[in-house]
């Protein structure tokens, strides 16, 4: 942890990366030829399996393909007009944003508090941290399956406890299921974001708190005027990952609800999958994939702008 977090200031600082001009640069130019090729495997790999499909998805959005016939055929704007006028897609879009906003509202305060808490008191930290991070080790499939069993209206934990308000049809009710999805998403991702905040808090200079307490600032005041502003970039990184993550959330919802009941949890990523791989409509599926890319990128850039110009490069990762 410490080593990871230590790198950001080092790379902007002077020192290591700045070569002495003159003699070295000549050597550089002769050496360069012998080192550049080492980037080729990674670049080629990513170009082939990352960049080409990204371009491909835009191309395929103008084509017709059922996924079974050998080749897609040209169609034009047909997929776009049919998707953009399809109420199912708009419902999925609204749902995606709804889940995005509510899971942000739930996860951010909890992660922030847990991050501050686990970064603080030595005594609890070690013991609790071990347990907090357990959900991070589980796959989305494992988590969903466990909660599906736990929330089963007939055989689940809630049902067999005999507490009436717990024994609801959590996954079968179109409204309740949304709470479940947001809860399970939070259960899975809060530990990760707590870790981010924990790392952020540990980087705040202790002197700031000492100075503030000498000036008589109470702890609540300290939290709002030191901790929160100092965590600005962590908040932006974490929010970007949450927001972009909800655009692409698939595994968890797919296994937990399969989009149901009805279409009540059919978020964009699921809508894409169901159209492309269940209904064999790769063209419309590609249109939705394009929308996911564009909206995700737009949101990431928007949050980056919120961070201001001095947002350091690690924010790129949220992109």
């Amino acid at each position: 942890m410490a080593t990871t977090t230590g790198t950001a200031p080092a790379r902007t600082g002077p020192g290591a990366a700045a070569p002495a001009p003159g003699r070295t640069s000549e050597h550089r130019s002769t050496k360069t030829g012998s080192v550049a090729w080492m980037a080729i495997p990674a670049v080629a790999f990513f170009a082939f399996f990352g960049a080409v499909p990204l371009v491909g998805v835009f191309v395929l959005s103008f084509m017709q393909w059922d996924g079974l016939s050998p080749s897609p055929t040209w169609l034009g704007l047909g997929n776009w007009t049919s998707i953009l006028t399809d109420p199912v897609m708009w419902r999925a879009m609204g749902l995606t944003f709804g889940i995005m906003i509510f899971s942000w509202l739930v996860q951010t305060p909890i992660s922030l508090l847990l991050g501050v808490f686990t970064a603080g008191t030595q005594k609890y930290r070690a013991v609790l941290a071990v347990l907090y991070f357990l959900p991070l080790l589980m796959s989305a499939a494992a988590i969903s399956i466990a909660f599906k069993a736990l929330l089963d209206p007939n055989f689940g934990l809630a049902a067999s406890l005999g507490v009436p308000w717990l024994a609801l049809n959590w996954l079968g009710d179109p409204t309740l299921v949304l709470f479940v999805v947001i809860f399970v998403l939070s259960w899975m991702y809060v530990p990760f974001h707590s870790l981010l905040y924990q790392g952020g808090v540990q980087q705040i200079p202790k002197q700031m708190y000492e100075a503030a307490s000498i000036d008589g600032a109470g702890t609540v005041r300290q939290f709002f005027s030191i901790t929160l502003p100092q965590l600005k970039y962590t908040i932006i990184t974490s929010s970007t990952l949450m927001v972009v993550g909800s655009m692409t959330a698939f595994d968890l919802i797919f296994v937990l609800t399969g989009g149901g009941p009805g279409n009540s949890t059919r978020v964009l990523a699921l809508d894409m999958y169901l159209r492309a791989f269940r209904a064999n409509q790769m063209g419309p599926g590609s249109v939705i994939a394009c929308l996911i890319v564009l909206i995700g990128l737009g949101l990431a850039l928007f949050l980056r702008r919120l961070g201001g110009k001095d947002a350091n490069s690690s924010q790129m990762e949220g992109l």
Partner: protein, 290 residues
Amino acid sequence: MATATDSSTRGATTSRSRSSKRPNWVGGLMGWVWLGVIVVPIYWIVITSLKPSSEYFTTNPLLPSASPTFDAYQLVLENDFARYFINSVLVTLGAVVPAVLISFMAAFAIVRGKSRFLRLSSGFLLMGLAVPLQATIIPLYLMIIRLQLYNSLLAVILPSIAFAIPLAVLVLGNFIRDVPNELFESMRLDGTSEWGTAWRLAFPLVRPAIVTVSIYTGLQVWNGFLLPLIFTDRQELRVLPLALWTFQGQYSVNVPAVLAAVVLSTLPIVVFYVIGRRQLVSGLTAGFSK
């Protein structure tokens, strides 16, 4: 001077230090509440997986069974668990090892070299961080079919490598930048090639970062669901998350067995967690920390 005020504030102001416990109290309350939220389901998963399937419906769900049994685990193991486990190991190793090695090479080249090609490569890979795997799945599917890789572990491995590269290059690059230039200079004066410098100087020095990146990538691939779901449909090629999902479909009534499968699929990572907790935790947030 600074230390004097430091110690005096700490020593003299008990009232203030009490007030400084207040956020701990708020955070602490949240800490304990969330602990319950995390621990209760996990506790329930574990104790239920140890119940006989007949007992499941009749006993208190929050009490461990009076006669715990590994029947559920046996059922899971009899359902080809070993094969799925091996598939998961193969896919994870097959993706992590090449991804980390070629990312290290690229990071080294980007940090050490100055050519236009390398600057472009660096920008290209940074932009790659913005490409979500899910959104490229349809063209990838077409490519996998065309490459005749459908229904092979390689179909899962190759895209996994590609999507691990951008973050790995970024994190490893940050660490290679921290290696003092004098060390590179002395290697150069000794007449060592860049290739030799990369593996004999930089690689050992950034080993902690290699471990971090490997763990991060490994967890992503181990827990990956979408690629195996779409690129394979043969039973003998299933990886653990996919096997878990189909197992749940078959045995949905046998809750202890389903939960035993959940436990078994997570167990290897938990063992890993117990052995190398610190590396794992730093690996989880890889390059995302400020």
